[in-house]
């Protein structure tokens, strides 16, 4: 009996070691594909520069100076991407939207704040994290990071488990609780005007901002950035190109990121 027990303990020990080692071994094997751990080593260290990394600077001051501009950006994005409007908060789908300061930066707790902060229209969207928790969580690689730093989605692979929505620390993801191609009780379609150049989604899948990968592919800039071109309220580009406009802005202006403490390394930068 005793020797049997010892044998069992040996087997149990080996099983435990294998169980612990397997995920990291798999991870190493699949690194190129899954990109689960592309974070720079050491958390706070600088990332090694490899290829492109798209980013965006949101100059909130300019949005305050140009009332209505933020909403125009939202409309442009939602029109191009066939984002439905269900008219209620429960089913809501949004890729980019206008928020107030205390919801975009809830961690900041200044004792006294400028009054102007309250009225500032702050755009919120996917942060296209360099170390995205949603990509880590997705069980089918329906959410993945492209090699130019965009967190993208394959709507045809998504099983609708919504693990990515629980994982996203920025509330950037929406789920198709019902058919987005349907109509409301009055016969009005949820997608006002269907853009045939971009696929409409089906019910039961998650979606979010894709940094306009489809437009970048044909040499266009993101739809929201296009709207804000004149004012330069949104600056978009490759942060790894030292000559790019965004690199210049980031070098010369002080910017803040949303909840940087959790190690996601967002690619969105705010000038307040």
């Amino acid at each position: 009996m005793n020797s049997k027990r010892r044998d069992f303990l040996k087997i149990a020990g080996l099983t435990a070691i294998a169980g612990i080692a397997a995920p990291s071994a798999f991870n190493t094997l699949l690194k190129g594909e899954a990109n689960a751990s592309s974070a720079p080593a050491g958390g706070h260290g600088a990332a090694a520069v490899t290829g492109k990394r798209y980013g965006m600077v949101i100059d909130v001051k300019k949005f305050t100076e140009n009332p209505g501009l933020a909403q125009q950006c939202v409309t442009a994005c939602h029109t191009v991407h066939n984002v439905p409007d269900f008219g209620n908060r429960k089913d809501e789908i949004k890729w980019i939207w206008v928020e107030s300061y205390n919801h975009v930066f809830p961690e900041n707790t200044q004792y006294k704040r400028p009054d102007s902060l309250k009225e500032m229209p702050i755009l919120a969207l996917c942060n296209h994290c360099d170390n995205p928790p949603c990509v880590r969580a997705c069980p089918t690689k329906a959410t993945y990071k492209t090699k130019d730093g965009i967190v993208a989605m394959d709507y045809h692979r998504c099983i609708g488990c919504r693990f990515c929505m629980a994982a996203c620390p920025y509330g950037a993801r929406s789920f198709n609780w019902r058919d987005p191609r349907g109509k409301d009780a009055n016969g009005q379609p949820f997608i006002k005007e269907l853009n045939p150049k971009f696929p409409a989604r089906m019910r039961g899948v998650v979606e979010k901002c894709n940094f306009c990968t489809e437009r970048l592919a044909i040499g266009q800039i993101p739809a929201c950035v296009e709207v804000a071109t004149q004012t330069k309220a949104l600056v978009f580009g490759d942060m790894n190109d030292p000559e790019s406009e965004i690199s210049q802005v980031l070098k010369t202006s002080f910017t803040i990121q949303r909840n940087p403490a959790i190690g996601t390394h967002p690619s969105l930068f705010y000038i307040i």
């Binding site: 699949l30 069980p139 488990c161 959790i262």
Partner: protein, 389 residues
């Protein structure tokens, strides 16, 4: 052996028909959900997991609870569990079956569920959960059935099954650990982001699983000639009692860390669950009565379960086990999952109320679980009683 499930008393058939009728009603609700989408539930953009995933989380615990019978019997050769261990293994089968059904019910695109296998993604905890849950289901079907079949034939179980039984022990720990890892590895969800989540899950599992088993054993004692035995009963009281205490110790640790550190994100969800969360000019507290009841029931259950043993009272034992079971069902089957979404990372508060269809589907999955359980227990008990006779 399965033919034993086809012969039974009127009571047995009435019970099975009752379960089938719930399954039928819930099935219709599922057809509605399948055709309309998950919008038919109470879930929203802010609270993206509801009662399906919380039931799933709780039932993983019920399944893992079987470990508390398998381990003493097979590793420590604790003979008194000889009659009850099969009940633990079969309960694990029914519980895992429910878990899998709850996951499928929660998917936006259930027809694509196999994408998890087609595109295996080891960095996702859900991928590992799929592996450990299906593995545990397989192990329990195999071990339970082979051992019972041997007993049916009046022989000792074959030697080759032993490694599978031994494997099922760490495997039981793994199912609840990986299920905890679904939650506790997410940055930005403070309530879940705690290293003690897996231990907490295990402690509550080792209490709630055996507690349910004990209640069923007492019902069987009344309705059939099947008796698990006084010694097994008394031993289970120790296991349930201490596991339940451990659960409350862990809960206390969570309270300490949150309220002593005073980190808002850590306190908010506990505020919401136990005291009501003031937000703007509103107070959100729809889960407070449940969570408070959970603590009271759990502590009362712990006290009473030891009294029941001292007094050798089966009635009190059932009451205390039910108290503990429902306490942990509220704690994990409601508070843990729903609480994690309040407040949202963008500091909004959205409360969740399940819809009628959602409750119907939930009831149907529970009924299906009990249907499977009843068939398995019918077989097991018939075999055991036949051997006694």
């Amino acid at each position: 052996m399965i033919e034993k499930a086809l012969k039974g008393s009127t009571g047995y058939w009435v019970w099975m028909l009752f379960l089938l009728s719930i399954m039928g009603v819930g099935g219709l609700s599922y057809v509605q959900q399948f055709n309309y989408g998950l919008g038919i539930t109470g879930m929203s953009r802010d609270v993206t997991w509801g009662i399906y995933i919380s039931q799933f989380t709780f039932l993983v615990g019920v399944a893992a609870g079987g470990l508390m019978l398998v381990l003493p019997y097979y590793i420590h050769n604790y003979k008194a569990f000889g009659r009850i261990v099969i009940l633990g293994e079969f309960m694990a089968i029914a519980a895992i079956a429910m878990c899998l059904m709850f996951i499928i019910a929660d998917l936006g695109q259930p027809m694509r569920a196999l994408n998890v296998l087609l595109h295996p993604t080891p960095n996702s905890m859900l991928f590992w959960d799929m592996i450990v849950l299906n593995g545990y289901l397989f192990l329990n079907i195999l071990c339970g059935w082979v051992v019972l079949q041997s007993e049916y034939k009046g022989i000792k179980y074959p030697r080759w099954i032993k490694p599978f039984i031994y494997l099922s022990i760490p495997w039981a720990v793994s199912i609840h650990t990986v299920t905890a890892f679904l939650y506790c590895g997410l940055p930005g969800r403070h309530f879940w982001l705690t290293a003690i989540l897996a231990p907490r899950f295990l402690a509550s599992a080792f209490a709630a699983g055996p507690a349910l088993l004990m209640v069923i054993a007492m019902v069987l004692k009344r309705t059939t000639k099947f008796d698990v035995g006084r010694e097994a009963q008394d031993k289970l009281v120790t296991i349930i009692g201490y596991a339940a205490m451990l659960n409350f110790f862990f809960l206390g640790c969570e309270f300490f860390v949150a309220y002593y550190s005073q980190i808002p994100g850590h306190m908010h969800t506990l505020d919401y669950l136990f005291w009501g969360l003031g937000h703007g000019d509103q107070v959100f507290n729809n889960l407070v009565p449940f969570m408070r009841a959970s603590v009271v029931m759990g502590l009362a259950g712990i006290a009473l379960i030891f009294v029941s043993r001292a007094k050798q009272s089966d009635g009190l034992l059932v009451v205390s086990c039910l108290l503990i079971f429902f306490s942990f069902w509220i704690d994990k089957g409601l508070g843990l999952v729903l609480g994690g979404f309040v407040p949202t990372p963008m500091d909004y508060v959205t409360e969740y109320y399940p819809s009628a269809q959602e409750l119907g589907i939930t009831a149907a999955i529970w009924a299906t679980g009990f249907f499977i359980l009843s068939i398995l227990y019918k077989v097991a008990i018939s075999v055991k009683l036949e051997k006694d006779a």
